[in-house]
């Protein structure tokens, strides 16, 4: 962890750079032990890099000035100066120890962030899809297993172990303020862990090019205090409170072949599970806010919102559309 004084200096520098407003920056606001050591390393390495570039820039300028001076002094003559090789010996002599120190620091941090944390951990199974995230919370009791999409809720102060795979192409799960990137690869499982020590919403995004809508495959991690998390978990485990209106009928005919709503007949598995959709804050992997207007835009014309998305434009009458959107808003 960072020393408090260093942290405050960095925070001040960060404020000057304006990065407080950058939800994906990993130079500020690292929220847990899988990201904080890397944030310190990043500042350290960036500092060294700037130092090296400044020193070399000064050396080049000095070399040009002295080379020009020699031209004025001696004129256009060709000869070899004997002192040249000293530059290489000194340069390499200074470079190598710096490089070795950087390597050691890097290895130490790598070990710190890649080691599995001790103690109990929450497990979440992440599956990448074109272009959204499926999140499954496994449990020893089958009835307690539930799935959601694009918004991962975790408890603060507890390591979260991620088991990741892909249903189609390679994606990359990345929430910069909580932990490292990890590729999501079909046919195999990769693992990572992250942790948030402070409550809040942390943004992430797919980081491996995965086709048309790679740019809009967002992920949100919401960290709640343990008690609130337990309440959320309880709510998610329950089936949907089935409402039997016109919207439910439209959903059953138009949407249920792709989407699941537990507690109803809808059991499709191609699209995200929608059992508690109204608890999520965005739609379509962060493309729209989960408001009534957002749901209208998305369900009414998904290909206009996110061209190429797997959800087709479904022809619905205005009345049907309005009813199904209201139904979706009731899925708490």
């Amino acid at each position: 962890m960072m020393k408090p004084r260093l942290a405050s200096v960095l925070a001040a520098a960060c404020g000057l750079a304006g990065c407080v407003d950058h939800p994906m920056s990993y130079l500020s606001g690292a929220a847990g032990p899988a990201s904080a050591p890397v944030q310190t390393l990043a500042w350290g390495f960036v500092g060294i890099a700037i130092g090296v570039v400044v020193i070399i820039a000064v050396m080049i300028s000095w070399a040009v000035v002295s080379g020009r001076r020699a031209t004025r002094r001696e004129g256009d003559v060709v000869h070899r100066d004997a002192h040249g090789l000293g530059w290489i010996y000194w340069g390499i002599g200074i470079t190598v120890p710096v490089l070795v120190a950087m390597t050691m620091w890097s290895f130490a941090v790598t070990r710190e962030v890649s080691a599995r944390p001790a103690g109990p951990a929450l497990q979440v199974e992440v599956t990448g899809h074109l272009w959204w995230w499926e999140l499954r919370y496994p449990d020893a009791t089958p009835g307690n297993i539930f799935s959601t999409a694009n918004e991962m809720v975790i408890p603060t102060g507890m390591p979260v172990r991620l088991d990741l795979t892909s249903a189609d192409v390679i994606h990359d799960f990345w929430v910069p303020k909580l932990g490292p990137k990890i590729d999501v690869i079909p046919g195999q499982q990769t693992h990572a862990w992250l942790q948030a020590d402070r409550p809040g919403t942390y943004l992430g995004q797919c980081a491996e090019y995965c086709g048309l809508e790679h740019a809009r495959m967002g992920i949100r991690v919401v960290a709640l205090a343990p008690a609130q998390f337990a309440a959320w978990q309880q709510a998610m485990r329950a089936p949907a409170v089935a409402t039997a209106g016109h919207g439910a009928q439209v959903f059953a005919t138009a949407c249920s072949s792709c989407h699941t709503v537990r507690g109803t007949q809808a059991g499709g598995i191609l699209g995200p599970e929608l059992t508690h959709l109204a608890l999520r804050s965005t739609l379509a992997a962060g493309a729209l806010p989960n408001t009534r207007q957002g749901r209208l835009d998305w369900v009414g014309n998904p290909q206009a919102v996110k061209p190429g998305a797997q959800m087709p434009d479904i022809p619905l009458s205005p009345a049907d559309l309005s009813a199904v959107v209201d139904y979706l808003g009731e899925l708490r």
Partner: protein, 665 residues
């Protein structure tokens, strides 16, 4: 731009002080009219279109390489500018996602495959025989073939672009995104076949360079006297012979997966998506060094001329060139740090990636020492080379950051890497190349480029470049991923992206100034004479532009700096220009022993030939037929290739065991 070109007419201030009275001096290498006429008739190409198509002159081929590569640079640059319009503001709609994806893929493919290596092959093709003291490359027809294949493969890679079906999987083309299932169109087939096609060009070109170095040098041009560009291109060529097969095989496997149902990369059939990444980066990382080491060689040879002294540390720089490439074969996994490969294995690659900095640092300190201990002339080439050293260091240290496993887990696939790779590829390739064109333009054309416009060009390019690419470091640290066609305003990336787009257009206007300077130089540049910069190496000992046979009398070399020997006074021996082998019994040049450069055999060189063009056309038809699945045509064109190769390898009867060797006294 605010440059008043009319103020800058040549003959009036355009000539630099370096030119001095060089124009009036005869070339060091004698070129007596009677012998010149005879050699001209032996070596000159046939008149008209047939000669144009059939020429095997390495200088013509070299210039064709450079010009073609520059055309591709401009095409790739226009693609980049279009993308910068889209990214200048958040949530812009200049391009559709599919258009953006095709543009960034073709931008990468174009710049990396069709510009960066070919332009350096062009320089090496032009310069090698001249700086090594020979009359041609080892295999002149193979040389012509490698150019025509490059041109044909480049056109092939663009064949589907007008139909809106260009490769869209990135230059790295990861599976399964690029498998039949997720990319059913012709896009990826064009990529696979195009790169196999281009790989033939690269391979034959590399083999030609290796054999040329070993056999085609002036007497006395021992291995420790060859200029650094030769070390750079030799290293790159040997590397390409080992690296390119990995890509060609990967592309063939993917093409089979896509068209014939094999399962090399298909998860459902037991295939492995990561296998593609391993094969691609086993090729990809050595390739990255192959497209910078020859450019570093250009600087190592040309910068000292403008510092009026030999390069500091020839041996360390030559050795570090080779060392970079050897280590360069052991770092490919640093492109795959986030793939979940065990940390222990990745750590080796992380350590190797730190170590590879050291040979690069040797070169940097050698260049700075050369400037510091020399007598600097602030010429346009010098400005480009000195600017290059700084850009090289910026690209180098950002590379050290990505070598760190833990830090790269944040950095990889962000704009930080985009910044790094552009500092490396533009900084270490484009800046040296432009500087080298200013330096060797008088040799290519016999005319000087304008120094004044050249300084403007450098200033605009340098400022534009840093404005365009430096903020990308910050953007990457602020979390912007690569290869995104747009971004949301609340991410806070908008202002930096706007600055970047402005910088990109400024940089492009610098390139326009450069092109204006080239055209102006060609039409009205001051006459250069054989050695306008007073350079030390053999290419400056012949007239500008050089005669088609290069040297009427083959020189005998006694040091690394044949034209500076009297001034350096480092040994009693002197290179000899005015007597030596006069090989005029047909198209002849000298073969030497590989290490010491002792005269060994007289080589009978082939003349103009339409076989390279014919083979290229047959191969182009072959690959097009494979692309569109016309089986009879692919069989027919394949047979045509074999027939052309049979004609190519048909034994020539005029080999003789002994020959009267004429010497020129």
């Amino acid at each position: 731009m605010a440059v008043n070109l009319s103020d800058d007419l040549p003959m009036r201030g355009a000539r630099s002080d370096v030119v001095a009275d060089a124009v009036d001096q005869p070339s060091r290498s004698p070129n007596p009219p009677a012998i010149a006429a005879r050699l001209e008739s032996l070596w000159g190409e046939a008149p008209g279109f047939k000669g144009w198509l059939g020429t095997v002159d390495h200088k013509t081929i070299g210039l064709r390489y450079i010009v073609t590569a520059f055309v591709f640079l401009i095409v790739g640059g226009l693609e980049a500018l279009t993308m910068r319009l889209q990214l200048a503001q958040p949530n812009a709609h200049v391009l559709t996602p599919e258009q953006y994806n095709q543009l960034f893929s073709m931008h990468g493919v174009t710049m990396i495959f069709l510009y960066a290596l070919p332009v350096l092959s062009g320089f090496s093709n032009y310069l090698w025989p001249l700086i090594l003291g020979s009359r041609d490359m080892a295999f002149p027809r193979l040389n012509a073939l490698s150019y025509w294949l490059f041109l044909a493969a480049g056109l092939f890679l663009y064949v589907s672009f007008p139909m809106g079906a260009a490769p869209d999987g990135g230059w790295f083309n990861y599976v399964p995104r690029s498998s039949q299932e997720y990319s059913p169109g012709p896009n990826i087939d064009v990529y696979c076949l195009g790169l196999i096609f281009l790989g033939i060009s690269t391979t034959v070109g590399a083999a030609n360079f290796v054999v040329t170095l070993l056999r085609m040098r002036a007497p006395g041009m021992s291995i420790n006297r060859v200029p650094i560009i030769v070390w750079g291109t030799l290293t790159a060529s040997v590397a390409n012979l080992f690296a390119v097969p990995a890509l060609s095989v990967a592309c063939l496997m993917l093409w089979l997966d896509r068209n014939y149902g094999t399962h090399f990369f298909d998860v459902a059939g037991g295939g492995q998506p990561l296998l593609w990444q391993h094969l691609f980066w086993m090729f990809g990382h050595p390739w990255v060094y192959a497209i910078v080491l020859p450019a570093m060689g250009l600087v190592s040879d040309a910068l000292p001329v403008h510092c009026r002294r030999p390069l500091v540390g020839y041996t360390p720089v030559a050795m570090s060139t080779v060392a970079t490439m050897v280590i360069g074969f052991g770092v490919w996994l640093h492109h795959m740090f986030a793939t979940g490969v065990p940390v222990l294995a990745l750590s080796f690659f992380s350590a190797a990636s730190f170590i590879i900095t050291i040979p690069s640092a040797v070169a940097v300190f050698a260049w700075i020492a050369t400037i510091h201990t020399g007598r600097v002339k602030l010429t346009t080439p010098f400005l480009f080379f000195a600017g290059f050293v700084l850009l090289f260091v910026i690209g180098g240290v950002s590379g050290v950051l990505t070598a760190s496993l833990a830090l790269d887990w944040q950095l990889t696939d962000t704009y930080f890497v985009v910044a790094h790779l552009h500092y490396v590829l533009l900084g270490i390739n484009v800046f040296p190349v432009i500087g080298a064109i200013y330096h060797w333009f008088p040799k290519f054309t016999g005319r000087m480029m304008s120094e004044r416009l050249g300084r403007w060009t450098f200033g605009v390019m340098f400022v534009g470049f840093n404005l365009a690419f430096f903020p990308m470091h910050w953007l990457g640290l602020a979390g912007m991923p690569r290869r995104v066609y747009t971004y949301a305003p609340q991410m806070g990336w908008g202002p930096a992206n706007l600055v970047i787009s402005i910088g990109a257009f400024l940089f492009a206007s610098g390139i326009v100034l450069f092109l204006i300077n080239v055209v102006q130089g060609l039409r009205r540049g001051a006459i250069a004479g054989p050695n306008p910069w007073d350079g030390p190496t053999l290419e400056w000992s012949v007239p500008s532009p050089p005669p088609v046979y290069n040297f009427a009398v083959l020189p005998q070399v006694a040091s690394r700096h044949p034209l500076w020997e009297d001034r350096l006074q480092e040994s009693d021996q002197r290179s000899v220009f005015d007597r030596g082998f006069l090989l005029d019994n047909g198209r002849e040049t000298l073969g030497v022993t590989p290490l010491d450069g002792e005269p060994d055999v007289i080589l009978k060189m082939p003349g103009d030939s339409l076989l390279p063009v014919a083979l290229t056309v047959a191969l182009l038809v072959f690959f097009c037929a494979l692309l569109v699945h016309i089986n009879w045509l692919s069989v027919a064109s394949g047979l045509a290739c074999l027939a052309i190769l049979a004609a190519w390898f048909w034994p020539t009867p005029d080999t003789v065991a002994t020959e009267q060797v004429r010497m020129y006294e």
